[in-house]
């Protein structure tokens, strides 16, 4: 192994953008979490339970209607939250910085035109070409391409230093943060915009997860109280973060919300019971020095058996207060881990952990101000990730 010569560069989180089923903006999210609010819809997509997007005025972050028309919902939500993150970091319109800002987006994509698909399926199979030629909108293709969330953020907000899109469900969000941090820590990037978005109010997406019987059905329950079968409720929402080197932040007078100390990831094969618990234990040892009182924010999805395996890990670390994001936000897939890191940074900046909201007893109230929060992102099917987010003294 080659040696690294230099001490890693310290990375700060200096901007957060959140647009979810609960709210938009940081104060609004904090209030909603403290009030244990949950925005859940059990009827529109019945029997499936989803967390619908809170009302947003897209014009505020995407001023051109023409831009909005070029995007499907997941791209609009993400472009909106990316704009909030840039606002939060005090960078909106700062062309000098935006044009050298690196961007890593964790993306799904493939948002279908449901009526076109239905029209094709109701026509004879031999009419496929004709129907698609006549019915597909050219702009839809661009709205389906995974890298076009990043492309739209570049167009709307002017982030153009670099543009990388990672795919692969939950772990794409972990790896996006892992690579962004590695580049800043290694001195090859000064500042990065990292995040993801999901439109969870999509029947084509529900269908993909219904193949594997992953969707929560009929009744909503908090994430650790969904019984042996479990299930996740797709959530709409987006989380973006501005991460920059301490020196870069200080030079422009930006205040840190928190420090992103480490991001680690692995992919266990999940062949035997306990594989995920073991993988999480291994990642826990790689985060760096942890205090006894560090808090944990987990994106546990509700899907089984992975959620039970993660609960076993959490019980083994019961001295650390836990909060699970899926109870309030549902499962935002690629955005799961960026959301967890965003809420960790928000909590650290407010010197408090938001209210517990869990009848199973895994989440316990605490009045202690956290100075370290570990974020966990285990995929519903593959991949495990963890981050250590710390208060900047």
């Amino acid at each position: 192994m080659a040696d690294t010569n230099a001490k890693p560069v310290e990375a700060w989180i200096t901007g957060i953008g959140l647009a979810t089923s609960l709210a938009e903006g940081l104060d609004e999210h904090w209030d909603a979490l403290q009030q244990r609010r949950v925005n859940v819809d059990t009827t529109t997509f019945a029997p499936y339970v989803v967390h619908p997007l809170a009302p947003l005025s897209f014009d505020k972050q995407i001023p051109k209607k023409g831009d909005q028309r070029q995007m499907e919902a997941w791209q609009r939500i993400g472009t909106y939250a990316a704009g909030l993150a840039l606002d939060s970091a005090g960078l909106k319109g700062n062309t000098d910085i935006l044009k050298r800002m690196d961007m890593i987006v964790a993306a799904g994509g493939g948002e279908r035109d449901l009526s076109v698909d239905a029209a094709v399926l109701n026509a004879p199979p031999e009419a496929l070409n004709e129907r698609l030629m006549n019915d597909l909108r050219p702009t839809l293709f661009l709205a389906q391409l995974s890298n076009l969330l990043a492309g739209n953020i570049a167009i709307v907000h002017g982030v153009t230093g670099s543009s990388r899109t990672f795919m692969g469900e939950e772990e794409a969000g972990v790896d996006a943060l892992r690579i962004a941090l590695a580049r800043i820590a290694g001195g090859t990037s000064d500042i990065a915009l990292v995040g993801a978005a999901q439109n969870g109010e999509r029947k084509d997406l529900l269908m993909l997860y219904e193949f594997g019987d992953f969707n929560l059905k009929d009744d909503y329950a908090p994430v650790f109280a969904r019984g042996p079968k479990g299930g996740f409720a797709l959530g709409s929402g987006s989380a973006f973060l501005v991460i920059e080197s301490k020196a870069h932040a200080e030079a422009r007078g930006a205040k840190p919300l928190a420090r992103l100390t480490s991001v680690v990831a692995d992919m266990s094969r999940r062949r035997s019971a306990g594989d995920v618990t073991a993988s999480l234990e291994k990642l826990w040892t790689k985060l760096g020095p942890l205090h006894d009182g560090s808090a944990i924010i987990t994106g546990a999805t509700g899907a089984e058996p992975v959620t039970a395996e993660e609960a076993a890990f959490l019980r083994a670390h019961a001295d650390h207060p836990v909060r699970a994001t899926a109870t309030a936000f549902g499962h935002v897939m690629e955005a799961q881990f960026p959301l967890g890191v965003a809420l960790a940074a928000l909590s650290l900046s407010r010197r408090a952990l938001f209210a517990a909201n869990d009848p199973s007893g895994l989440e316990i109230e605490t009045t202690k101000a956290p100075d370290q929060i570990v974020v966990i992102g285990a995929g519903h099917w593959r991949g495990e990730g963890m981050a250590l987010v710390e208060a900047v003294a």
Partner: protein, 426 residues
């Protein structure tokens, strides 16, 4: 002790294994022979009905059977083939135990029409089939395999398990620059000292009716269907679009130090990588060419070399009116008077545009150019475009002294990435 770090003090990153599959064939030998003979892999599509389509040809890989056809399955199989060849050549690790991470460039995954139609049949209805009807039959275990298959991470998951790569595999898309981005991520991981080796794979098996129609609706594809082998005409005046194609490329990257220590044969050096995003338009380049110029300059800076040292450019050269014009603007702006003298050729004239795989496939062809000291041609170049006065190595391969190659990749969504490859460490 030999020098193992570059001018910037970073570990030198070398290539010790390569594998490639295109419409020309499987493997480096077959591909190189046909590429330097100026053969085309483009043919009329037989995989699905072509009636009513504006474009009816593509560079399909028909010799890898997938029944029933699935683009995701084909992409996975092509990646397997290329990776097997690359790892065998590198002789690294043990079978199923590759000592480093995986970076995979892959087309965005979506449920395809055959399974969607299978679901429609399962509803038992002939009319009024909608997503509610599909959803009612989706669960219960009958279609579990489609969850596994159509996750975005599914191809990487398969490769990671098959070849035993380490850590969390990264699937990425930077559209038609994806292959170059996968290599860039591997280079960065080795330069940071995170690993001594990385497996960089790029694959695309996207020729299905819907994907073809989507590109067709954007007017991006050539419609010169009557003579498929001559349809792809990069840099020629009568070019009218790109030709979709399939393929895969795989590269084993290692630190020079680790490769030398285990006595591996060095196939070439990834001397520099660069990227820059363009926010002018979703599918078009900024008319001033600045993002492409900036991308090329960043790549030269990263490699620490000057334009005088580049003696061949492996162009993105898609054959769309827009791309080739903008690529010329970028090259001529950076290279100045030298732009007319440096050979610039496009492999896409023969293999078509392998989309997510193109950056890696063309990096491999660039390394083969260095190895054989022979430049593959741009075929179908019968009518020169006076607004693009480049030496495109027209129609016939050329022996040349080549020490340093630049390979360009550009994609929808403002993606620009370039690589600089050399025979020896610089």
């Amino acid at each position: 002790m030999s020098v193992t770090r570059d001018k910037m003090g970073r570990p030198i990153v070398v290539v010790t294994g390569m594998g490639v599959v295109t419409s020309l064939g499987a493997g480096k030998t077959d591909n190189w022979t046909k590429l330097t003979a100026g053969e085309s892999g483009i043919r009329t599509i037989t995989r699905f009905p072509i009636d009513g389509l504006k474009t009816t040809m593509a560079g399909t890989v028909d010799f890898v059977p997938v029944e029933p056809f699935s683009s995701t399955v084909l992409g996975e199989k092509l990646a397997d083939l290329a990776t097997e060849e690359a790892i065998a050549q590198a002789g690294i690790g043990a079978k199923g135990d590759f000592p480093g991470p995986l970076f995979l460039a892959v087309a965005p995954v979506e449920l395809e029409w055959l399974p969607r139609q299978e679901l429609a049949r399962a509803t038992g209805a002939n009319t009024a089939i909608d997503y509610d009807a599909l959803l009612r039959v989706s669960g219960g275990g009958q279609f579990t395999q489609y969850h596994r298959r159509f996750l975005f991470g599914s191809v990487a998951d398969h490769l990671a398990e098959t070849f035993g790569t380490k850590g969390s595999p990264i699937s990425l898309s930077t559209a038609c620059a994806s292959g170059a981005s996968a290599i860039q991520l591997g280079v960065e991981a080795i330069r940071r000292g995170e690993s001594d080796a990385a497996l960089c794979v790029a694959t695309d098996g996207s020729v299905n009716a819907e994907a073809l129609i989507r590109f067709s609706l954007l007017s991006a594809l050539s419609t010169q269907n009557d003579a498929p082998q001559t349809a792809s005409k990069p840099f020629a005046k009568n070019r009218d679009g790109f030709v979709m194609a399939e393929g895969a490329g795989a590269l084993v990257l290692e630190s020079f130090e680790a490769a030398t220590a285990r006595g591996a044969k060095i196939l070439g050096v990834i001397a520099g990588c660069g990227e820059l995003a363009d926010n002018f338009h979703r599918t078009r380049s900024s008319p001033d060419g600045k993002p492409i110029i900036g991308c090329i300059n960043k790549t030269l800076d990263d490699a620490g070399i000057s334009v005088e040292q580049i003696d061949y450019i492996n162009a993105h050269g898609t054959g769309t009116p827009e791309n080739d014009k903008m690529e010329y603007l970028g090259i001529s702006s950076v290279f100045g008077e030298r732009a007319a003298k440096v050979p610039v050729s496009s492999n896409k004239s023969m293999v078509g545009h392998t989309l997510s795989a193109a950056g890696a496939v063309e990096a491999i062809f660039s390394l083969l150019t260095l190895e054989h000291q022979r430049i593959p041609p741009t075929i179908n170049y019968e009518i020169a475009d006076p607004s693009i006065p480049l030496d495109v190595v027209p129609n016939t391969a050329r022996d040349a002294k080549v020490t340093t190659v630049m390979s360009n990749s550009f994609g929808f969504g403002g993606q620009n990435a370039s690589l600089i490859l050399t025979r020896e460490p610089v």
